[in-house]
């Protein structure tokens, strides 16, 4: 106990001057600059770059938590995410792809966080809304549309931008349609029903090639259009030599970044609004909330529809970025994937959901392949590892372990919502000491959520 307390205070002694005052500005600027230079000067895909990349992303987290002026945080953010990362992406396209993917999943996690975290509705079929958006753009931008009615042709690629709004509306409508019948159900039933619904959507997408070919069945939809690049000629005139694929990578990166920013703003405003407080009341005690005059079904429906609309928008972007979608893209594992992000970060916490999304995406795309490479080397050196074992194929195991371990040891997540933490402290005020060495000895989860 004593050692952990002293190490805690040592950690605090080091971090306290660096997190506020003039030292903080210097430290943050230096940190971001150092990481940026390291990244840009060493753009090969190897372990050291991975580590620097993680440190680089971590700098955003550190900046967010430091007590420095808001304008400084904004400058750092714009510099790191708007300039350094895209430039680094032109040097090594793999990392910008990781960043774009992480952005897409950040939006999805934020959307699911509205449903699961704010309103307390466990939705295991969230990917269905994502599929709706993706299929909408997939069908309307390709000759697939002519299969439905020969008189119709694919829409102009520039319609991509209005389709972002259409995707949002479609997600909203699907959310309401699904939500209306099921939202009267109790929590655990709701989880199973949404799971069933997610499966139904996948099965339907898999089989709707007859009698009318709408989704092209299990073959999926190929050659989905990308929007035309508006300022590409001006960039070329500047003397930048870049092929279309590189430009599209940058384009999607910036697009996703903008959507993530908008999502964060919307979600943060919602959370502290009257609606957000109503959701919280329902989550904490449904009966009491109804007794206070909160329209339960309407509020739940709103959470469902808002969460779904984010997924609808991202579905359109995702289809356009991937160029190809098929039903297995939207299976149960994908829903669970997003759920793991929300739970890892902390249900109801906006920075938590973002952190969870980034961690899980990096685990998926970078860390697991890295472990796989290490294992292969060890195997070549004669270590007794079964040849078929490939960690990248064992995401379920990883997600499962994450879910169980988080539920048992830290149900409030890595970056808990402040209000939830306060609630917990209220309960655990007597266990304050236990709270300190929580890492060493987990307290009873009964008091947490």
């Amino acid at each position: 106990m004593t050692t952990s307390t002293s190490s805690q205070s040592l950690w605090q002694r080091v971090t306290a001057p660096l997190s506020s005052g003039p030292a903080a500005y210097g430290f943050l600027a230096l940190y971001v600059l150092a990481c940026s230079i390291l990244l840009v000067t060493n753009p090969r895909t190897e372990l050291s770059t991975d580590v620097v990349f993680v440190l680089f992303l971590l700098s955003m987290l550190v900046a967010y938590r430091s007590r420095v002026a808001a304008w400084f945080k904004v400058i750092l953010g714009v510099f790191a995410l708007g300039v350094v990362l895209p430039y680094f992406g032109t040097l090594n396209p793999f990392y910008i792809d990781v960043a774009t993917q992480a952005g897409i999943f950040t939006t999805l996690a934020l959307g699911l966080n509205v449903v699961v975290g704010f309103a307390g509705l466990l939705d295991l079929g969230y990917v269905a809304f994502f599929a709706v958006g993706a299929y909408a753009w997939g069908i309307f931008s390709t000759p697939q549309i002519s299969q439905i009615n020969p008189a119709w042709g694919p829409v102009d690629p520039v319609m991509f931008y209005p389709f972002l709004i259409i995707g949002l509306i479609l997600g909203l409508i699907t959310g309401v349609l699904l939500g209306l019948p099921v939202l009267r159900l109790r929590g655990d039933y709701l989880a199973i029903v949404t799971l069933g619904f997610g499966e139904v959507i996948r099965v339907v997408a898999n089989n709707l090639d007859r009698p009318i070919n709408i989704t092209n069945g299990s073959q999926g939809i190929r050659a989905i259009e990308r929007p035309p690049l508006i300022i590409v000629d001006q960039i070329r005139n500047l003397g930048v030599v870049a092929d279309d694929n590189r430009l599209y990578q940058l384009f999607f990166y910036y697009l996703v970044l903008i959507i993530v920013l908008l999502t964060v703003i919307v979600v943060a405003r919602l959370k502290h609004s009257r609606i957000g407080r109503a959701w919280e009341a329902i989550r904490e005690d449904e009966v009491a909330a109804v007794a206070q005059g909160i329209p339960r079904v309407r509020m739940k429906l709103m959470a469902f529809a808002i969460g779904a609309s984010f997924a609808g928008v991202m579905g359109v972007v995702f289809a356009s970025k991937q160029l190809f979608i098929n039903p297995p893209t939207f299976d149960l594992l994908r829903s669970i994937n997003i759920l793991v992000m929300v739970i890892l970060g902390g249900m109801g916490s906006i920075p938590g959901a973002m952190l969870g999304a980034i961690i899980v995406t990096m685990l998926d795309l970078q860390i697991l392949p890295r472990i796989a490479a290490v294992l292969r080397e060890a195997q070549a050196a004669g270590a007794p590892i079964p040849r078929q074992f490939d960690p990248t194929q064992y995401q379920r195991l990883l997600f499962g372990l994450l879910l169980v371990v988080m539920m048992i040891f830290r149900p409030e997540g890595l970056w808990p919502d402040e209000r939830r933490r306060e609630e917990q402290h209220e309960i655990e005020i007597a266990e304050e000491e236990l709270e300190v060495d929580k890492d060493a000895k987990p307290t009873s989860p009964n008091s947490g959520r």
Partner: protein
């Protein structure tokens, strides 16, 4: 379970008649539902065929020819769902918690069965033992393994969370289900079993021809394959034994008491933790047996086969009224018949436009959704009010 718990008589011992009553009463109820759903669904398809016959003259014949086979198929599916659903319903009865990982227990039952048969083949004893002994061996090993596994899962992933908000153990159960899937895959792909493990069996003999149906000038044989017969007989025996254990023994009384009111049960001197573990043991053993039988019938098992039957069995448990043991059996059978009929007749009635096999899953989940909206208490359940 709480709902059908018959009021325990004050006398310590029951007469044989009473025991027979509590054991075979539910079985009779089950039989009534089997006959009822088979007859009513058959009537529906025949009437539909009659309505459509002016446009498609041969539809009546096509419908009637496959009818007996569809009923047998429905029966087998029904018993499958019933045996899995019991695991869901018993755990729900005691802990009010959806044991999401139960579908995976079922899958592991199948894998264990495949392993036993693989070991028998590799030692060359498969052909020399009688088929009946083989079936018993496979089922018993799968039951023992899965029962222990379910107890372990409860100890590791659920017991630390008892008393936590509802969603917490559910999420933990989802995680456990993913873990079990990949652990099974890891074991299967790194052993000679392979991802799609073949389930080798001794020769069970020729299909049994029950009777022949005369349809105009054609005679159609109605066939029951030995594997289906094994499935139906084994499932029936398990259901009867379970009914005996739960309704006519002291242990069963303790289980029912715990389901009704856990704190009071523990005040009455019942070791509640032991009863919960026992519930998982029984449910897991039944699920494992169902998995072994399922693999025996299908011929291959894979680590992802548990999800869909698990979900459907949950549907069955809800259909019968979750927490109600007889209800789970009834719900399983009704759902099995419905699904068999949809799978067989959807493409006939839509002129091949919708594949019945693909939309059977959709049908099952649609039933679940409709049911939860209009009658969440299920067929045999009673309406409950939420406790504040």
């Amino acid at each position: 379970m709480a709902v059908d718990a018959t009021v325990a008589p004050t006398t310590a011992r029951r007469s044989l008649g009473e025991v027979l009553g509590v054991v075979f009463g539910p079985v009779g109820q089950l039989l009534a539902f089997i006959v009822g759903s088979a007859v009513s669904l058959a009537l529906i398809v025949v009437v539909l065929a009659f309505i459509l016959s002016p446009t498609q003259p041969d539809i009546m014949q096509r419908v009637v020819i496959i009818l007996p086979q569809v009923i047998i198929d429905g029966l087998v599916r029904g018993f499958l769902f019933a045996t899995i659903a019991l695991g869901y319903t018993m755990v729900y009865g005691v802990l009010e918690f959806i044991n999401f990982a139960h579908g995976e227990i079922f899958m592991i039952g199948g894998v264990v069965g495949a392993t036993v048969s693989f070991l028998l083949v590799s030692t060359g004893t498969l052909e020399s033992i009688p088929p009946l002994v083989f079936v018993l061996l496979v089922i018993l090993v799968a039951m023992a393994f899965c029962g222990m596994l379910a107890v372990t899962v409860e100890r590791v992933a659920y017991r630390p969370l008892r008393g936590a908000p509802r969603l917490v153990p559910l999420i933990s159960a989802i995680g456990m289900s993913l873990i079990l899937q990949d652990l099974a895959r890891l074991v299967m792909t790194s052993t000679p079993l392979g991802f799609n493990a073949r389930y080798q069996t001794p020769n069970f003999g020729q299909p049994i021809q029950l009777f022949t149906m005369q349809l105009g000038d054609r005679s159609v044989p109605v066939i029951l394959s030995p594997r289906d017969l094994i499935f139906i007989v084994a499932a029936t025996i398990m259901l009867v034994v379970l009914n005996y254990v739960v309704n006519a023994t002291k242990l069963g009384k303790a289980i029912r008491a715990t389901a009704q009111d856990m704190p009071t049960a523990s005040l009455m001197g019942i070791d509640v933790n032991r009863i919960v573990a026992l519930t998982f043991l029984i449910g897991g053993a039944l699920g494992g047996a169902a998995g072994a039988l399922f693999g025996l019938r299908i011929g291959t098992v894979n680590p992802y086969m548990g999800l869909i039957p698990g979900l459907k069995a949950f549907t069955a448990a809800v259909l019968g009224g979750i927490g109600n043991i007889t209800g789970a059996m009834v719900g399983g059978v009704v759902l099995g018949f419905l699904e068999a009929f949809v799978a067989a007749y959807l493409s006939i009635f839509t002129a091949g436009n919708f594949s019945g096999a693909a939309y059977a899953d959709v049908a099952a989940f649609s039933i679940l959704i409709l049911l939860l909206i209009f009658r969440p208490s299920g067929l045999l359940g009673e309406a409950t009010t939420q406790k504040v």
